[in-house]
């Protein structure tokens, strides 16, 4: 006899797009990252006032998958659009971006730092797959040293610089209330990441400052790996460059 229901479908996650298609490549962890966010939205009972700002690329194509209001703009400025929304709606809305590493840390780096410096009461989720997925697998600011991409065909070397550690960078900015990096490659990582996501939304509810969570995800298609290999690669390679954990957590910015 079932006494208590402890697991079920995530209410605010649709899973399929408007045409009933699953738009995620096999083994891609975008779906997992969305699930962790949606679970938290449901558990905190804030999905009804959530406004998502998917960045450009897979994120905007996948915006159908979450059953929340969403706003799509251009490549990079999601934190600034979020600023406009949050400044109008205040605590009536939970405003978060959902951006790729290129969107957030290359073309959008200036917007991200600007919003952080102003201590905007918004939440930024940056999904790090170590390359540009939608455009076919090019070098991103987060590409690992020695990694093959279509624009580092001889593998990344110092001529294209070094991997950018965004949550560590965000932790140095006074207007940031919370900064963390999680992953979803194992159940343990998933549970930990869920705590980070919850904490990030809590900072917004408490109107402390900007909260930032990077989530390490896979892109088997452009990594040229099987889904199983891709998950292993996150555990072995990506995490080595990008350590998981909380880099900043304050309840008040003085």
């Amino acid at each position: 006899m079932i006494k208590e229901r402890i697991y079920g479908p995530t209410k605010s996650l649709v899973g399929l797009d408007v045409l009933g298609q699953m738009m995620i490549c096999p083994g891609c962890y975008h779906g997992m990252a969305r699930k962790v966010i949606c679970e938290v939205l449901d558990e905190m009972d804030i999905a009804g006032k959530a406004i998502a700002l998917p960045g450009i690329g897979c994120h905007s194509s996948l915006s159908w998958l979450m059953k929340v209001d969403s706003i799509i703009y251009a490549h990079g400025p999601a934190p600034t659009v979020a600023t406009g929304v949050k400044r109008v709606l205040g605590d009536k809305a939970m405003v978060f971006t959902l951006q790729g590493d290129g969107d957030c840390a290359a073309i959008g780096a200036g917007y991200l730092v600007g919003a952080a410096a102003r201590a905007e009461k918004i939440t930024i989720f940056m999904l790090n797959n170590a390359l540009y997925g939608t455009t076919g697998g090019q070098l991103a600011p987060t590409t690992l040293m020695g990694q093959w991409t279509t624009t580092t065909p001889y593998n990344r070397d110092p001529s294209s610089g070094y991997p950018l550690h965004v949550p560590e960078l965000m932790a140095t900015i006074k207007g940031v209330a919370y900064s963390a990096r999680g992953a979803c490659a194992t159940p343990a990582q998933y549970r930990k990441t869920k705590k980070y996501v919850k904490m990030a939304f809590q900072k917004q509810i408490d109107m402390v400052g900007l909260s930032f969570v990077e989530i390490l995800v896979t892109c088997p298609t452009h990594w040229r790996k099987t889904p199983a290999e891709a998950v292993k690669w996150v555990g072995k390679e990506t995490i080595k460059e990008y350590p998981l954990g909380v880099f900043k957590n304050v309840d008040k910015i003085e």
Binding site: V18, L19, A47, G48, K49, A50, I51, L53, S60, S63, W64, M66, K67, V68, D69, S70, I71, I72, Y73, A74, P77, T80, V81, A82, T83, G84, V85, K86, R87, V88, L89, K92, A93, M94, G110, Y111, V113, G114, A117, R118
Partner: protein
């Protein structure tokens, strides 16, 4: 300081500079959100809002670049409030991506553009050199936005209010096109709220699914033309549907929103066509000519897009055979005048080389316009 009685509708006379008059007009139109970045010669607009909006329960945010001004404005507009930004030429260039996106997402917003000299960093005073990028859709994709061009400080305040109305009516960015000279001309105006009639409800605005009865999510997107089928809310559709949807709207604006004023054109042999600050000079040029018995007239477009092509063409048909585009730039307005006249008369132009000084502070003056056009009389 904005007095509550003026907001409530009491008409008052005030001695204002053009930039301030724009801000007053916006306040009277109910705009309480402003996002901007400093750039000369429009700083009085942002400074006005920084001072006034916190008192009025609104929000002023100085962001990190003009790309951010327009992005934050886009965000505010998605919630359905009236919001604006202002800038000058180099900042205007930086906003093009956002204006293109807002045109696609069909978000109402007002952008005050106080032109300075260009190209590049140009000058920090005035010019009318952004005519093309303002009237032709300066960003990617060949779109159209309504452009209102005030000439007098009173018009700054009045057209700012009209800009918000038209933005809400047609769900489009509206550009209020001023320049560094008009921004600083200071004169007594009537600060008066204008009523342009009812508007449709903003039943497309976001605010969370719990903010509406249906509980269905809303999506505001700049990628509307990437769909396979047309969704009921129009947030996604096949590409051709999307392109036709926008161009049908632009045709509606062209059919209904052309605005202009004329001065002594009925019997004019030569019609000066001019807008903004040079339009102001040309009115005096007409008087100089008439005093000498020369039949000059002035046609001053107020909407630069939609441009009054048909109305100028009608003047050519009625007997005015000479037209002179007068503009404080190297090119621009003359091309619209040529399109309007369609070979039915001569078209000449007077540009910024007739300014009274060779420095950036030089201006187009009535007497110099007159001595220039004498060669075509």
């Amino acid at each position: 300081m904005v007095e509550k009685r003026v907001i409530r509708g009491k008409v008052e006379k005030k001695f204002l500079m053009g930039n301030e008059a724009i801000a007053w007009g916006a306040i009277l139109a109910g705009c309480r959100y402003f996002f901007g970045y400093p750039i000369t010669p429009q700083n009085e607009i942002g400074e006005f809002f920084a001072r006034e909006l916190p008192r009025l329960g609104g929000v002023f945010v100085q962001v990190e670049a003009e790309m951010a001004s327009i992005a934050a404005l886009y965000g505010a507009a998605t919630t359905g409030v009236r919001a604006m930004t202002s800038t000058s030429s180099p900042g205007w260039a930086l906003m093009q991506e956002g204006i293109s996106c807002a045109t696609v997402a069909e978000l109402p917003m007002v952008i005050a553009h106080v032109q300075r000299g260009g190209p590049g960093q140009g000058s920090i005073s005035h010019s009318q050199m952004d005519y093309f990028s303002v009237t032709r859709g300066g960003g990617h994709g060949g779109y159209k936005t309504i452009v209102l061009a005030p000439t007098y400080t009173q018009e700054m305040c009045d057209l700012a209010q009209l800009a918000f109305h038209l933005a809400d009516k047609y769900l489009t960015p509206v550009i209020l096109l001023s320049d560094g000279l008009l921004g600083r001309v200071t004169e007594t105006i009537e600060v008066r709220p204008l009523d342009f009639g009812p508007l449709p409800p903003k039943d497309w605005a976001v605010g969370g699914t719990a903010s509406r009865e249906s509980g269905e999510p809303r999506r505001i997107s700049t990628a509307r033309g990437q769909g396979m089928v047309r969704l009921p809310d129009g947030s996604s559709m096949p590409f051709t549907d999307f392109a036709e949807h926008l161009s049908e709207k632009w045709q509606k604006i062209m059919d209904n929103e052309v605005r202009y004023t004329t001065y002594q054109v009925d019997d004019a042999d030569m019609v000066l066509v001019s807008y903004g600050s040079s339009g102001r000079a040309c009115r005096d040029t007409v008087d100089i000519g008439r005093a000498k018995g020369i039949k000059l007239g002035l046609f001053r477009p107020i909407t630069l897009w939609p441009f009054p092509h048909q109305e100028i063409h009608a003047l050519a048909q009625q007997g005015s055979k000479k037209f002179v585009a007068v503009e404080d730039s190297m090119t621009g307005l003359i091309e619209d005048v040529k399109l309007a006249v369609e070979g039915k008369g001569e078209v000449h132009r007077v540009g910024l080389s007739i300014r009274d000084m060779r420095t950036a502070m030089g201006t187009i003056n009535p007497d110099r316009v007159f001595s220039e056009i004498e060669q075509w009389l």
